[in-house]
Symmetry: C2
Subunit: 245 residues, 2 copies
DNA sequence: CGCACGCTGCGAACGTCGTACGCTACCATG
DNA sequence: CATGGTAGCGTACGACGTTCGCAGCGTGCG
């Protein structure tokens, strides 16, 4: 149906809402991708859906990002920037490391989808945020008394633990979120299977039984700090040994 | 070109290579999937390619496996069975834990693709191999003197560390493998970028410089055992404190 | 002995994905 | 005004996971 020949001046009075500034940009894409991932998880991130959120075509994104893998690298480095690493201070290095561990953990829990792309992002080695944070963490351990080479190993230890521990938490949360609205039902549905299987394994059964009374989230948090404490203990005895030598 | 009308008795002498036994089975599918994954990595695993390897149609697999996610769960639990956990023995618990850690690490390095599915396998909670191995590990820590509840936390700590640490190793290896035949070229290609970026970060730079002289694989292995040692130190001081109390 | 049923495998098809390619409209520069 | 570079987009291709209905085969019942 052709429109009538009347001019529509209210629209044509402003003939250029067109190219005020390049409406798409790498930053806008990355930050919108993070919003989408936080809201709907990893499966919901496709170039088309992301483009739609930016009211753009899917393929327009390729002007700013080489491909989806690169986008994910950018996204991962971006959220890595959210981690808060305190300034180095020999007097309270143990507290500072603990704070860092918690900050890293809560970052991952804020963005649980990262754990499903960890293996694919071989690099991000060069991400600016990752480098900046690593530098700060190394400073932490240097202040504690470790030599530079050893500080590197200690940092690897801490990050490996926190990532590994939080991965299992985040994976759990992801499955809960993906399994739909009511987690409770789903958990209950596979409880009989689990309980039957546990019969054969007394230690496993007793451990789970002890946990039964508490809040799952609480348990995970306690287990997390327990591990951090043990690691810090190990580091302190190491420091004691080397300085006594 | 139609074949000549000659009978080919050597073939038709055995007119029933047809349904000897159900040529497809869950076990065959899982083990072939592992072979495919080991050989060509995670991206090469599709229902079609896996079906082809079993000289079957892609959709035939769905008779034995609900969907690809379930297949991956099965595969992950299967390789978890390769881990060797020594029998519990109070006299040498530290050695036993170390052996377990190494066995877990080498399992992941044998199957580097697991790290790219870790986040997606929320469950496998119920996999029989995972349960069996967990039980054995708990026994290890119980023998060391930990109460059952605490043994659970200790196990989580160790597994988290090993998985986290090995994830970064495996991701590195995966990228190398995926980037094609000559790792060296690819590494060299991004070295200038890396070195320029490192200028801003003295600690990071010094650490990498110290590593420059050694073999990368060697470094990772040393870093791994360093972490295990620190964790074991931490566990021992914990045991000392609780038994002294 | 015959026949109906259940199970295994498969071909075709659907919807979705990442992304290569070439076109248009705009802007900045000569 | 001509020119070239750049941002955005429509179309299209090949691969993917998965659904569905059909075809063979073996088994057990009448």
């Amino acid at each position: 149906m052709p429109a009538e020949k009347q001019p529509i001046p209210s629209v044509w009075a402003r003939p250029r809402p067109k190219r005020e500034q390049p409406s798409l940009s790498r930053d806008r894409i990355v930050s919108e991708a993070i919003k989408l991932l936080d809201a709907e998880g990893i499966d919901a991130l496709s170039m088309r859906s992301l483009g739609a959120r930016l009211s753009a075509g899917a393929t327009s994104l390729y002007r700013h990002v080489a491909n989806k893998d690169e986008l994910i690298e950018l996204v991962v480095d971006e959220i890595y920037g959210e981690v808060r690493v305190p300034a180095a201070d020999p007097a309270r290095w143990r507290a500072a490391v603990t704070e860092t561990a918690h900050s890293l953990r809560s970052m991952v829990l804020r963005h649980p989808w990262v754990v499903s792309v960890l293996g694919q992002v071989g690099l991000a080695y060069l991400g600016p945020n990752l480098m900046r944070q690593s530098e700060r963490m190394l400073a932490l351990f240097k202040a504690a008394g470790f030599a530079v080479d050893e500080a590197d190993q200690v940092m690897n230890l801490l990050i490996a633990y926190v990532i590994g521990m939080t991965t299992s938490e985040a994976a759990y949360l992801s499955v809960l979120a993906r399994s739909g609205q009511n987690e409770q039902d789903w958990l209950e549905s596979l409880r009989p299977t689990a309980e039957q299987a546990l019969q054969e394994y007394p230690l496993l059964r007793d451990g789970r039984a002890a946990e039964q009374t508490k809040d799952p989230g609480q348990i995970r948090a306690e287990s997390f700090v327990y591990g951090v404490e043990r690691i810090l203990d190990g580091l302190e005895t190491r420091l004691g040994r080397t300085s006594a030598r």
